[in-house]
Amino acid sequence: MNSEKLGEVFVDGRIINLDNASMEMLESTLGVLSKQKESSIVKINKILSEI
């Protein structure tokens, strides 16, 4: 079966190969990204509250 190749991404100071990384690594990366997004939303809300 030919699945799509995704290559590497840089997250939280680490290079992660999306095609070879373990499921645990991918799940943990998703968790990191989710926290990063939450943090961005908090910062954006804080900036908007200054209006």
């Binding site: 079966m1 699945s3 990204l33 954006i44």
Partner: protein
């Protein structure tokens, strides 16, 4: 204001990068689950074929063509499902990306309206409004004359705050952003569901692995009989008992799989149309709020 916009723009840029990476990792998880499942199941199919060959006294190299043909057919069936579910996944991802783009536009509009508010605060129109408001309020609060009170109360009531429409737009834009966020959250759940559904589809490919071609348990006596029989009619028995049954199984898989692919395609169309309807609702709510 310059710094406000700059800070907001920086945060939006950071968030865009995070969102793009999130979608990539979500797809990597989808891929990983399916690849692992595929490898496990293909391993079982190959081992089953080899065990059967051994049971019928065949060497793998003697039946390599049959083996390759069966493996290739199973591969095609896994591929069909993978492609259909991948397309479904990508369609939802495209909707998410579009909504995330619209959220950024809403943010950019918030910055624009905010800049207009700041300009307006320095304008003569606003200064006049502030002056009038103070004057009307003063009369309303101090006069003892009923006619004057009524007149200034009406003037105060009809006095239009130049910021009103801007605040209304800001509120509507924030609601629009949140509205998209709710639809995006639903879409992200859908991505997980698509992964689960793809695994279930993969399961259905191997459900046809019936007892008919399950490896027969052998003992010393049956081994001897089998070796004797395989000398005389091993190839014919192997073809009939294993190859033909496996080919018949894969024909059933192909038929069922074609139906699954059709169902997945219609699911994709209906899913995209439901997401677009939800997006249209968010836009309609915004338009109605700023009217």
């Amino acid at each position: 204001m310059g710094k406000f916009n700059e800070r907001l723009l920086n945060e939006l840029t950071e968030m865009s990068k995070t969102e793009a990476l999130t979608l990539q990792v979500q797809f990597a998880i989808f891929n990983k689950r399916l690849n692992e499942f595929y490898s496990d199941k293909m391993g079982v199919i190959v081992k089953n074929f080899d065990d059967q060959a051994s049971f019928y006294g065949k060497k793998t190299e003697d039946c390599i063509d049959s083996k390759n043909s069966i493996i290739s057919k199973y591969n095609s069936e896994f591929q069909k499902i993978y492609d259909a579910r991948k397309e479904q996944f990508y369609n939802v991802v495209a909707e998410i990306q579009e909504m995330q783009g619209n959220q950024k536009i809403a943010m950019a509009n918030i910055m624009k309206v905010n800049a207009e508010i700041e300009d307006l605060a320095d304008s003569s129109a606003y200064k006049e409004y502030v002056q009038n408001k103070a004057e009307f309020e003063n009369v309303v609060n101090t006069t003892l004359n009923k006619a004057e009170f009524d007149k200034y109360s009406a003037l105060l009531e009809n006095l239009k705050d130049p910021f009103d429409s801007h605040y209304k737009t800001l509120y509507a834009l924030a609601e629009k952003y949140d509205g998209y966020q709710a639809v995006i959250a639903e879409c992200e759940k859908k991505l997980i569901e698509i992964g689960n559904a793809a695994v279930a589809d993969f399961e259905s490919i191997v459900k046809y692995r019936t007892a008919g071609v399950a490896i027969k348990k052998s003992n010393v006596f049956s081994n001897i009989i089998n070796k004797i029989m395989s000398i005389f009619g091993g190839k014919a028995r192997f073809d009939k008992e294993v190859v033909k049954k496996m080919e018949s199984e894969i024909a059933d898989v192909e038929k069922a799989n074609n139906e699954v692919v059709d169902v997945v395609s219609s699911q994709t169309v209906s899913l995209v149309s439901r997401i677009e309807a939800a997006r249209a609702e968010v836009n309609a709510a915004y338009n109605s709020a700023v009217e």
